[in-house]
């Protein structure tokens, strides 16, 4: 079993230890900020443990880690998706969700009555039963080639899911994975600026008046997030 979520008791212990330590020091070293951030971070919010296992495996295929650069799993993308699904996005809070619900053409956009959170739940359940049926294993236990085959099947719509459009779910998963890899780390992904360091984005640096006309020159100041140097 990979990465069991931190228990509430351990979470509280960490918080209790971390806060006074940082206060006593009277300063915010990178380490104390990291401890504080970890203590303040919520645990799993929407996804079940099984759903997190599926996503850990799937997002790692969408953006794999390699020797030099972490992939989506290590960058915390599962946590990012979990937090997104538990909030306004996952609940389609601002979307027009009144029926009736006929199906339309691709140009007419999203016409599912499932919210993104509901779609993840239904799709992961159905993908897991497909994997059980075809391979006798959960998705996360498949070989990476088999995992890619399943993803290609979703992407191309060859894999038939009873309650959701495979293509639509795949696109949502892919977008959310890229978002988590490249959004500000305060949302739970892009951990330690994994995504931004990969590409060379320095973060919201705000002022480039002195640098914009230095053509062809690399920008060298360290990466920052909206919450500072540690990001989270």
């Amino acid at each position: 079993m990979a990465n069991p979520p931190i228990s509430r008791r351990r979470f509280l212990q960490a918080a209790a230890l971390a806060v006074p330590a940082a206060s006593l020091l009277g300063c915010h070293s990178d380490d104390s900020r990291k401890i504080l951030a970890a203590a303040n971070a919520p645990g799993p919010l929407y996804l079940s443990e099984g759903e997190r296992h599926f996503l850990d495996a799937a997002v790692e295929r969408l953006i794999p880690g390699d020797a030099k650069h972490p992939g989506a799993r290590e960058a915390g993308v599962t946590t990012f998706i979990d937090r997104q699904l538990s909030g306004p996005y996952g609940m389609a809070e601002t979307w027009y969700m009144q029926g009736p619900w006929p199906t339309g053409d691709e140009e007419q956009g999203w016409q599912s009555k499932l919210t993104p959170a509901q779609m993840y739940r239904a799709a992961i359940r159905d993908i897991q039963s497909h994997c059980q049926q075809k391979y006798g294993k959960h998705y996360e236990a498949l070989s990476t080639d088999q995992q890619d085959d399943v993803l290609h099947g979703l992407e191309q719509g060859h894999l038939d899911l009873p309650d959701t459009s495979a293509k639509q779910f795949f696109q949502m998963l892919l977008h959310n994975t890229q978002e988590g890899f490249l959004a500000d780390p305060m949302y739970g992904g892009n951990r330690d600026f994994a995504g931004w360091k990969l590409i060379g984005f320095p973060g919201p640096r705000y002022n480039y008046v002195a640098e914009i006309e230095q053509y062809g020159k690399p920008y060298t100041l360290p990466t920052v997030g909206l919450n500072g140097r540690t990001g989270a």
Binding site: L62, Y96, G104, D184, L198, I199, F201, E211, E213
Partner: protein, 587 residues
Amino acid sequence: MATRLKEVDVVLVGFGLTASILAQELTDAGLQVLALERGGFRDTVPDFSTTTIQDELKYAVRHGLFEEPERETLTFRNSMDQCALPMRHLGSFLPASGAGGAAVHWNGQHWRFLPDDFVIRSHTEQRYGKKFIPENMTIQDWGVTYADLEPYYDKFDYLNGVSGQAGNIQGVIQQGGNPFEGARQRGYPNPPLKRSYPTVLFEKAAKEAGFKPFPCPASNTSRPYKNIYGVQMGECTYCGFCEWFGCGNYSKASPQTTIFPVLLKKDSFSYRTQCEVTRINLDSTGKRATGVNYVDAQGREFEQPAQIVITCAFAQHNVHLLLLSKIGKPYDPVANTGVVGRNYAYQITSAVDVFLDEILNPFMGAGALGQAIDDFNGDNFDHAPYDFIGGGYIALWTTGGRPILQHQLPEGTPKWGAGWKKALQENYLKSCSIATHGSVMSYRDSYLDLDPTWKDIYGNPLLRLTFDYHKNEHDMSNFLTDKAAVIAKAMNPRSFHPKPRKGHYSIVPYQTTHNTGGAAMGDDPRTSVVNRYLQSWDVPNLFVMGSSVFPQNAGYNPTGTIGALTYWAVDAIKNQYLKNPGPLVQV
């Protein structure tokens, strides 16, 4: 039962750009003005603070500053034989909600239309003959000319502190500016922005290709600037978070940075937020507006009487309100009668991505930092050899390098997996994109009406949009894309990737928030909703602002012309209408 409130001189539907200009000018004329805004109040501090606003996920991806379809949306179909379906979340265009409107989250790309754009039908017929215009194309002259609007374009330039290089001052062509532009009375208030590397490379390549590049006019201030109302703006820092964000640096022109500091101090002006106007009320003759009805955040309904009603909502929302209020004859595309909802148009865009060997630092940018050519806009070139009308600018903008939505990948890059990751790593710092920005003509089958099935949260029918690109627009856009590829090639790239606009119009991918028409202006009440002063033909104390009055769309971003038309209309209200309330144009 609506609670009746005390009468005001002027009620404005919405509190965005046009409403802010009107409020400032009409309170100066001594009137009591009230703005009713469906969204909340927002100001530079604290809402757009530089420590929180540069959040791509919250604002660009999750649409933090835009209207919520849950409250107001429309249904969409490509053609009349389809069933229109609700736009359930935003995509192709992003109208705002809240004070300042879409002028909070625009890029600041600040253009004037060409003189020929305002007389497109008569000009085209004269130059190419009547048969050059397809039968189902319903383009028409605006009823105003560029010469009429020039003083008001000028005023809007100096409100916003536009940074740019003039191309034509009083008929004299200026070195380094846009030689195709209409004559302006004087130069821009501020010099062009600092140049990003990709715009320098574009300029060189465009010149080599034989075109005439110039710095794009920007409502991003290149230096500290005090505007016509005495409001101070600051120098742009090229942070790369303009479009879809508010500006925390007082550098991007918006009502917050150009008008609010003086307007909000006036006793004669007030605004109410979270108030959605649902009807314009008429008296028993149907010829006079008595005010509006609105619903507040608690669901209470109020009647707000007013001497003058001005709709300043986003383009299609003005049309929706006219249809719900039964003002003007609704357009019927089958019988080809009526006017309200007629001549909806949009913009057709494409791109050519360019991949170079040098570091370009795409994250250093500004919303309107670009270099463009206008050689193929409007009727700046001879259309006789081609089978289309219209054109557009071709520009390399460096609006920012926000990682989620602003990265380019070479043709053939896998959509995911190790290959995607490698391509992202190798190209993020070394790529840029050339955009084409094309006009869209109006057609008999592109229009707005009320949907028969879906309702909004107040129980009113949603607006229904019927729209598709026609052959004229695809041919024109492909022509522009080919020209953009010529420039891309001259940049000596590793590779370049033309991305023409193909197939049917789709409401899904973001294109532009340049929705136009539905309440067209003109000289003839049989083909227009408002006269040349944006005054309703049917209800003379009702005026309609914004791009809803465009009879078709030109090859430029609309905001410059929206601002000019607003100043033009408010001048007519102050100096003609108030002295003699009634129709400003006799039929």
